[in-house]
Structure formats: C-alpha cells, structure tokens
Amino acid sequence: MEKVLVDLKNICQSFGDFEVLHDFNLQIMENEFVTLLGPSGCGKTTLLRMIGGFDSPTSGEIYFDGKLINDVEPNNRPINTVFQKYALFTHLNVFENVAFGLKIKKVPKNEIEKRVMDALKQVHLEEYRDRKIDQLSGGQQQRVAMARAIVLKPKLLLLDEPLAALDRKLRQDLRYELKDMQRSLGITFIYVTHDQEEALTMSDTVVIMNEGRILQIGSPEMIYNEPETRFVANFIGESNIVDGQMIKDKVCMFEGVQFPCTYTGFSKNEEVDIVIRPEDFLIVNKNESKLTGRIDSKTFQGALHEINIIDQNGTELTVHTTKDYPLDLEVGLTVDPENITVMKKPGVNIYTGVMEEDGYVRISDDILLETDSELEEGTDVVVRILTQDVLLDDIDESDFEGTIEDIKKRDMYYDVYIKSGDKRIISSTSKVHHVGETTGIWVKKEKVVVNVEEDLSNE
C-alpha cells in the first residue's frame, strides 16, 4: 500500500577531506512529512541539495519513484524546492514569480492565470498579485515561495529551513499552515530544520542527524519519549541525563536510589545512562521519596516554572512544574516507571595517566595522546575515550599502533580489541578488520577526556 518515493542508498559525500555524509541510507514514503533535524553542519542541507539535483553524491544512489536520478538535471526532476531565503526573483512581481515555472514549461496562458491564482489562494495572497517582492513582509515572501513551488504540482517538495528568517509568532502560525497544506495537497514534504519544536509539531517522521549520520528515525512521539542516544535526548527538548545502573530487569538505580522502570534485557548491574524529562519529575514531600534535594534556583517561564534542584549527591536536576516552590526548600522527587528512559552506554576505554607538557597525556611508555585539557604537567589523571572515538588507520597517520587480538560483531558495527604494549584498547568501527593485523590507532584530541584522579571516587 505504502509506496517508497525517495530511496537513498549508501550516499557518501565529502568536500576535500571533510566527510559530510557517511554511508547514508533513508527511505521516504509517498505523502509523508519527513523532517531532517540536526545541528548546523550535520549534512542535512547537503542531503536536500542532492535530492533537488544541485549537488551530486561522491558515491551512492538516489532513486526517485523507482528510477535512478543521480544524473538527472534539476530542471528535469518532478521536485521543487523552497529555499532558505526564498530566492524570489526581485525583478518580477508576485504573479510573475509564481507563473515563472509554468511559463518555462510553456503552459497555455489562460491555464497559467488559473493555476497561479489557485496557488495564491492556497497561500492567502490573491490580493497581492501585482505587488513587487520588496514590498512584501518576510512572511508574505515565504508564502510566495511556497506558491511558486506548489503551482508546478511536484511529487516532492523540499523545504530548507523555510521559517528560519521569520519571527517566533509568525513561525508558529506558519507551521500549522504548512502541515495543513501538505495534507490537502497530498505532496510529500522533506523539511530541513535545526529547530526541534518545528520538527516535533509538523512531521510524520523525524530523522535526527549528526556529523553526517542518522542517529534515530521515528515518529515525533517516539523520538521524544524514547531517545536512543545521549545526543538525541539532549537535542530534542531538555533532559536530565544521569549515570545509572540496571540492577535487574525493570529496576534501575541512579543517584543511589532504586526506581522501577520498564526496561529489560540488560546484563546485571550494567552501567547505563538514564534520561528523565524535566516535566516527568514530580515534586513530593521530602519524606515521601528517597531521592531528595534542595531547590537551588528557579525561573518563571510563563506556562511553567523551571526549578533547579541539587540532590543529595550534589547533582543538579531540572524540573518543570506548574506550581511555584520557595527557594532552599528540601523536597523529594519521584518519577513514574514509564517516564524513565534507559540508554545503553557507549563503550569506553578507561586508563590512568600523567599529564605532560603542551597538552599531552601519557598513558603508557608507548602511548602519548594530545588532549584539550589544560591541567598542569605531572598531574595524575584518569583518561576516558569512547570506543566509537578510537579510529583505526594507516600506521604512518596514527598516534600509536597495536595488534588486533579479537573482533566481536555487534548490531551495526564491530568491537575490535587491540593490544598495544601492555595496554588494551577497544575500537567500535563499521569497517572490516582481521585478527592478527597490525593497525595504526588515533583519537581526535577533543575526544580524549581527561579528569583529575580524585574525581573518580565520585563517579
């Protein structure tokens, strides 16, 4: 029943050495409202430009309606785009702008008139047909850009942050209009934004991207309620993310307190990340919960109060409530089991080391890593490196080398166990390696997390 309209297969794109998209796969259904959401520089606009035909991928295939369209010129694609700053033609008036595409397609004159007026009616601009573009407000220009695109009846409409240049109130109104328009026209929309609110209110499907990869795909509800990674949890709305443990199935522990939850299938005492939305914490009497804290600060935000609570371990938790509480009050916090999200921790390599001069940290006789830390020379430190940040490369290009001892297959990647001198390091990678191979190993300096040794006892 549901038909795949756009199919992106193994798309890679790099500009020089910089990899913008990394082996990107995505299917978009007919009549879907898909939002590509991510911070700037995550590759979402590049992806949109490829679908529109303005860039071509370094490798990979783009299928539209079952046909490979990699080499089809943009003017021959049944796809239209609403650009970020609208790119209206300032030498033409509103009517002529909307009629531009129809004239190029040599549509008969009386039909142009009818279709342009229909499109202008859709965006409530019939009365502005003879206006010059520079006599319109930002919101009106945005509507002209919409009309100019939909008048051609494309199968797919690409929108590149079309609301970014507008003020907040207008943005909110236009969101509903866009969604209505998508429903009534029956056109597939691919919408690019970095505004998570926009993504959640309009989309059928949200694709969260970072650094050229998909982090999570799902309905807005799913993305919000069950973020799979720390990044998603942080990016979509505010979150409290704390370290925790799964004591057993359906019981987790964080801040030294056990809570019932809905998750199963973790190993016993597995270290996890726990995500709780600020609005899911309930403030109760101090003696009604084992998790207690003191109200440290609060801000009034109109519909709600944002309260920062320092709990018994000194961790700061953010709570949204509709009720006001006095400062410095000791309170208890509870949370419903279904509102606790448990995330698998990414693998981490932990070492002890010593700071050396010029921002280097020594882990062993052979291993010296560059780091952003500005700790003093000679400080004893704990070094943490996520397994996904350990990169394997040619020996010449690397910080140090090691021999692969073991490889374990995970869902989407491999954990590669490497021995280097007397140290072992784990790297999570999607590339295939072989046991016994010697490989170069390097870590970007911002990924080398260094803490003073005393801090460890706290965690």
């Binding site: 529109g52 943009p74 003017n75 785009t81 970020q84 033609f89 397609k105 520079d134 695109a149």
Partner: protein, 289 residues
C-alpha cells in the same frame, strides 16, 4: 551671532577657487562655441550658431566658414562618427562579455574568485601608456603573422579589451546582493543552465549591467592614449584627431560645439542617474518602515 573666524573665510575662498578651476574652462568653451571669429583666443565678436550647425550640415557656404577650414570640419565629422561607432560597438560587446565573466567569476569558490579578480584588475591599474604599448606590440605581431592592418578593427578590439574589467567591476557587487540561490531556484523551476542565467540572473542584475555599460561608454568615448597607439595612420577618433589638428595649427570652433554637446549629454545622464538612485533608495526606505 558667532563671529566668523579666519578659517570660515578661508574655506569659502577655497570652495570658490575650486569651482572656478573646475568650471572656468567649461564656461570658456561655452562662450567660444557661440562666437563667430576663427581665432581660438578672441572672445566676443558676434553671436553665432554656425559651429553647431557645421556639425550637422555640409552646406558651409551658407554658414560663411572660411574655405581653409572646411576640409578640417569634414574630417572632424568623420572622427566624430568613428568615435561613436567604436564607442557604441565596444560598449555593447564589452557589456555582454563583462556580464558573463562577472557571473562566471561569481560562481567560483573564494580562492579562485580572488585570483580572477587580480587578473581582472590588472588592466585597470596598468597605466594606459603601458596597455597601449602592449596592445601595439600584439597588433604589430599580428600584422606580420596574419596581415592584420591597424585601423578601426584594432581600435575596437583595444576598447573592448580595456572596457571589460570595468563592466566586471560594476556587475559583481550587484551579484553579491542577489539571493545566492537565484540560479538554483530557476533551475528548480525548470530552466536549463543557460535559461537560468538569462531568465533569472541577468534580469535581477540589470542595474549593475547598466552602470557597467555607462562605465564602458565613458572609458571608450574619451580614450586618447590607447587609441593613439593602436589606430594606425588612417583612423582617428575625436581625441586623436584634435591632437593631430593641433600639430597642424588649425582647430575649427566646431570642436567646441562638439565638446559642449557631449558635456551637456553627460551632465543630463549623471543627473538622471542620481535622480533614479535617490528615488529607489527612498522607495526602499518606505518599504522598510
């Protein structure tokens, strides 16, 4: 009332002085072009329009112009026609190519764009005497290679050559102002590569193209040095003609008439341009309010 200091008087004197320096020659030409004597130094012996008429008629007897000047006036008229022929043609051609070059340069990445701008600006910063001499060398070479005679064609080529950089310079800023996605928007709406340039980009940079054309026009119409080098022995524009007439010792006062006409046209164009610019600015301000 505040007492005027010596600097206030000085500044007034300075302004008056500046105006006199700039406008006295024009006023002088204005007066001379209406006096009927032949001598360039005599002023105020009888009012006449004959120098103006002489530019548009061949019936010199009715104007009672001395016969020794008639040949000169005829050759001046040819020089004027030459000037307009070269100027109009070189303006059209250099505006066309300059606009396309500007669009091409604009679409390059920053590094290449800077490199091309250096290449573009080279002829502008080069003294005319160097440009003229270099072009002469090239044309001499071409003469021996393919038998190209120096004349109107070499002058036209030279004028196109030195006008294009000015067109590029006036079109580029306008290109920077228009929406960076204009070309892509046109492609998106169904234009071919060329269609997008001619239907979307060029119409939105017309102001830049017009000012570029005006630049090219003025550069070409008053060029002396480069034309001097590349025109050969037979071909004159007004500037080179005046130069050679001065050597021979006669200049008919028709030259004054011509100069004044050009001056008036230029002032009208400048005034109109000013008027259009301020009008446009006012309009934009109204919209922004």
């Amino acid at each position: 009332m505040k007492k005027k200091s010596v600097f206030d008087y000085l500044s007034i004197i300075f302004i008056v002085f500046a105006f006199v320096i700039i406008y006295a020659p024009i006023i002088l030409i204005f007066i001379m072009s209406f006096t009927s004597t032949y001598s360039l130094s005599e002023i105020g012996t009888g009012f006449t329009f004959k120098w103006y008429e002489s530019l548009f008629t061949s019936n010199y007897e009715r104007l009672s112009i001395a016969s020794k000047y008639i040949a000169n006036i005829d050759s001046l008229k040819i020089a004027i026609l030459n000037t307009f022929f070269i100027t109009i043609l070189s303006t059209i051609i250099s505006t066309f190519f300059g606009t396309l070059f500007a669009i091409g340069i604009h679409s390059l990445n920053k590094k290449k764009r800077t490199a091309f701008m250096v290449l573009n600006n080279m002829p502008i910063v080069n003294p005319d005497i160097v440009t003229g001499f270099l072009l002469l060398l090239i044309f001499v070479l071409l003469q021996t290679l393919i038998g190209l005679e120096r004349g109107w064609f070499t002058v036209l080529i030279a004028h196109i050559f030195f006008s294009i950089p000015y067109v590029v310079l006036s079109v580029l800023p306008r290109l920077n102002q228009i929406d960076p996605n204009t070309y892509e928007a046109a492609r998106d709406l169904g234009c071919t590569r060329f269609g997008a340039v001619f239907k979307a980009i060029i119409p939105s940079i017309t102001t830049g193209i017009v000012s570029g054309a005006m630049f090219a026009f003025t550069m070409s119409i008053d060029d002396f040095v480069i034309t001097m080098f590349v025109s050969g022995t037979e071909f004159y524009n007004v500037s080179t003609w005046i130069d050679s007439a001065m050597r021979r010792g006669f200049i008919p006062k028709s030259v004054y008439a011509y100069n004044l006409i050009i001056f008036l046209i230029a002032s009208i164009v400048v005034q109109m341009n000013n008027f259009l610019q301020t009008n446009k600015k006012r309009k934009i301000e109204v919209v922004q309010e």
